[in-house]
C-alpha cells in the first residue's frame, strides 16, 4: 500500500507534545537528581491513565521553577501533562493551583470530548504536587484538596494513601514510610488500615 500525506487523529499541538514531550522524566536517575520540592500523582491504571508530577519551587518568589512528569496513558494524556509542564514554568503557585482543564485543552487546540478527562487529571496532578510542597514546608493552611482528608495533622488524603498502595506499599508501615499518615495522629490508624485493604482490592494487589 502506498502512503499519501500522513493523517493525524488529534490537533497539531497534541502531535508535537505527544511525539516530543517536554520536561519529561525518562529515568529514575533523573528523578533522584531533580530533588523535587513537591510530588503529586493522580489517576488510576485501571482507567488507563496515571500521571505523576514533580515540581521545583522558587521559595522566595513563590513560583514554580520547573515542572517534570511521567505519564501512563493515551496520546492526549501525554500531551496534556507536557503542555501543562510548559504553562506553569515561572508561574505563581496560587495561579498554577487554579489552572483549569479548559485552559489546558485550549493550549492543545482542543481535544475530542471523550478525552477531556485526561486534562482533568493533569491539573489535579499539579495541585497534588503543590499541596505536597505546602505540606513539606509547613504551610498546611494553604492545602486545598478534593480528596477526603484522613489525617488532619498532616492533611493526608485518601488519594495519598491510594497512591502509596499503587506504588507498592502493602502494609501500614510501608504506607507510613511514604506518607507519614498517622505517625503523630495515631487515632486514624484503623481508618488507614481499612483504606489500605480497600485500595489493594481495588487495584488487585495481593
Amino acid at each position: 500500500m502506498k502512503k499519501s500525506k500522513q493523517k493525524w487523529f488529534y490537533s497539531e499541538q497534541v502531535k508535537e507534545h505527544f511525539f516530543n514531550p517536554k520536561n519529561i522524566f525518562r529515568s529514575k536517575a533523573e528523578i533522584a537528581k531533580f530533588k523535587a520540592d513537591g510530588v503529586g500523582m493522580v489517576g488510576n491504571p485501571a482507567c488507563g491513565d496515571m500521571m505523576k508530577m514533580w515540581i521545583k519551587v522558587d521559595r522566595k518568589k513563590g513560583t514554580i521553577k520547573e515542572c517534570k512528569y511521567q505519564t501512563f496513558g493515551c496520546a492526549s494524556a501525554i500531551a496534556t501533562t507536557s503542555v501543562l509542564s510548559e504553562m506553569v514554568k515561572g508561574m505563581k503557585l496560587e495561579d498554577a493551583f487554579n489552572i483549569t482543564p479548559k485552559q489546558i485543552v485550549e493550549k492543545l487546540g482542543g481535544l475530542p470530548q471523550v478525552k477531556y478527562h485526561c486534562s482533568v487529571l493533569g491539573d489535579r496532578a499539579l495541585r497534588e504536587a503543590i499541596n505536597d510542597y505546602y505540606r513539606k514546608t509547613d504551610q498546611l493552611e494553604k492545602i486545598v484538596t478534593d480528596s477526603p482528608i484522613v489525617d488532619e495533622t498532616l492533611k493526608i488524603t485518601e488519594r495519598d494513601i491510594e497512591n502509596a498502595v499503587i506504588e507498592g506499599a502493602k502494609t501500614l508501615e510501608e504506607v507510613q514510610q511514604k506518607t507519614k499518615v498517622g505517625v503523630e495522629n495515631k487515632k486514624v490508624l484503623p481508618k488507614v488500615r481499612e483504606l489500605i485493604k480497600k485500595f489493594k482490592e481495588k487495584h488487585r494487589i495481593k
Binding site: F72, C74, V114
Partner: protein, 385 residues
C-alpha cells in the same frame, strides 16, 4: 514509506476481482430489483444469482439467506428477531462474555426489554466450555448465541459441540462468523447452526453488506419494516452492487482459505515469537492454538495501547488497541478482561490482524519498531517496572 496494514480484523481492502463484480451494478445495471421491467429484472437476477452462490458456499438453500446491511444488523436481526418471535415460549438467552458489541449490546438491550440473558464466562484461554453453556440452560431458554471466532483475540469457539447441545434441547443456536469466514469452515450443515451472521468488510468485500443465514422453518420477527423485500424479513431496496460483491468475496475467501491460513500461521507465529524474544513483561491474550491464523493480541505491561498504536502509525504500521480509547469509549476491552486480566493489562493490549497483503517484510518492520516504542513509553511511565 510502505504502509504495513495489520488491522484486517477491522476491515479489509476490497479485492479487485470483487470490485469488478460490483461495478456493472452502479450506473449500468442500476435497476431496482423490485421493478417488473427489464432494468429491474437484470438487477433482480444479480441478487438471486448472488443468493444462490452464497447458499452453495455454506451448504444452505437460497431462501435461507437474508441480505442485510452488515454484521451488526445481522446480529441484531438474529437476536431481537428471535427473541420477539419466541417470547411466548420463553424469555432466556445464553451468550458468552466475549461477544462482539453487536451481540453484547443487543443482549443488554433485550435485558432492558425484559428478557433474561446469561453471559457465560470463557476460560482463561478465551474459549467457552460447552458444558458451562449446558449448565445454564433452563426451560425458558429460547436462543444461544456464540461468536465463532473472536474479533479481538481470534479464539475459535467449539461451535459444533455447542450446536449439538442446543439441538438436543431444541434451542435455536446463532453464531457470528464474520471473522471466521476467511479462515474456517462456514458450512452451516457441518456447524449445525440455525442462524449464522456473515459480512463483506472482513473478507475483502464491500462494507455495508452482510447476511443472516436462517435455517428453513426458523421464525424471525423483522426489525425493519417497509417494502417487504427479502420476504418481509428485511425491507429496503437491495444493495445490488454490494450483494454481488459480497458473493464474489465469499467465494474467493472460501476457495483460498486453506492456503491462506497456512501462509498466515507462519507469519503470525514469527510475529509472536519475535515479540516474545524482544520485549519483556508481556501477556499473550487468548489461546495460541485454537486461534485464527491472522490474529495476534498482546498486552504490554506499563504502557497504554493508544500511545503504542499512534507511534506505530507514525512508522507506517496500522494496528489496533483493545481499549478502543481513540474511538467511542474509554472502557477497557471486555474481551481482554474476560480472560481474567486487570483493567491495566486490558489498557495495554495491542492487536495485529494479518491479511492477504501481509508479507514477511511487514512482520520484520513491526519487530524492528515495536520494541523501541514500548521501551520509550515504559521510560516515561510512572507504573512501568
Amino acid at each position: 514509506m510502505r504502509i504495513s496494514y495489520l488491522d484486517n480484523a477491522a476491515t479489509t481492502p476490497v479485492d479487485k476481482r470483487v470490485l469488478a463484480a460490483m461495478l456493472p451494478y452502479f450506473s449500468e445495471k442500476f435497476g431496482n430489483p423490485g421493478s417488473m421491467h427489464q432494468k429491474g429484472l437484470e438487477a433482480k437476477e444479480a441478487v438471486e444469482e448472488a443468493r444462490k452462490k452464497i447458499a452453495k458456499l455454506i451448504e444452505a438453500e437460497p431462501d435461507e439467506i437474508i441480505f442485510v446491511s452488515g454484521g451488526t444488523e445481522s446480529d441484531n436481526l438474529a437476536l431481537i428477531g428471535i427473541a420477539n418471535a419466541l417470547k411466548e415460549k420463553g424469555n432466556h438467552i445464553i451468550t458468552t462474555n466475549i461477544e462482539h458489541h453487536a451481540v453484547f449490546d443487543t443482549c443488554e438491550y433485550l435485558e432492558e426489554q425484559g428478557f433474561k440473558v446469561t453471559f457465560v464466562p470463557v476460560e482463561k484461554n478465551g474459549i467457552v466450555n460447552p458444558k458451562e453453556i449446558e449448565k445454564v440452560i433452563t426451560k425458558d431458554t429460547i436462543l444461544i448465541s456464540v461468536i465463532y471466532a473472536n474479533n479481538e483475540i481470534g479464539t475459535i469457539q467449539p461451535i459444533g459441540e455447542i450446536s449439538k447441545i442446543a439441538k438436543s434441547k431444541e434451542i435455536l443456536f446463532h453464531t457470528d462468523a464474520c471473522q471466521a469466514a476467511g479462515y474456517l469452515d462456514i458450512n452451516a450443515k457441518n456447524l449445525g447452526v440455525d442462524l449464522m451472521t456473515l459480512n463483506g468488510s472482513k473478507i475483502y468485500g464491500p462494507k455495508g453488506i452482510g447476511i443472516l443465514y436462517a435455517k428453513k422453518g426458523t421464525v424471525i420477527q423483522p426489525i425493519i419494516y417497509g417494502g417487504g423485500q427479502e420476504k418481509g424479513m428485511r425491507s429496503g431496496t437491495e444493495n445490488v452492487p454490494a450483494i454481488a460483491g459480497f458473493a464474489k468475496a465469499l467465494e474467493i475467501a472460501q476457495k483460498e482459505r486453506e492456503n491462506e491460513s497456512k501462509r498466515l500461521v507462519k507469519l503470525r507465529d514469527n510475529l509472536v515469537d519475535g515479540i516474545k524474544n524482544k520485549i519483556p513483561d508481556i501477556i499473550i491474550n487468548g489461546d495460541l492454538k485454537k486461534r485464527l491464523p491472522n490474529n495476534v493480541n498482546i498486552s504490554f505491561l506499563g504502557v497504554e495501547g493508544e500511545s503504542m498504536l499512534l507511534h506505530l502509525d507514525a512508522k507506517g504500521i496500522c494496528a489496533s488497541t483493545g481499549s478502543a480509547c481513540s474511538s467511542h469509549s474509554l472502557e477497557p476491552s471486555h474481551v481482554i478482561k474476560a480472560l481474567g486480566n486487570s483493567d491495566e493489562v486490558s489498557h495495554g493490549s495491542l492487536r495485529f490482524s494479518l491479511g492477504r497483503h501481509t508479507t514477511e517484510e511487514d512482520i520484520d518492520k513491526v519487530l524492528k519498531e515495536l520494541p523501541k516504542i514500548v521501551e520509550s513509553l515504559r521510560k516515561i511511565s510512572p507504573i512501568a517496572k
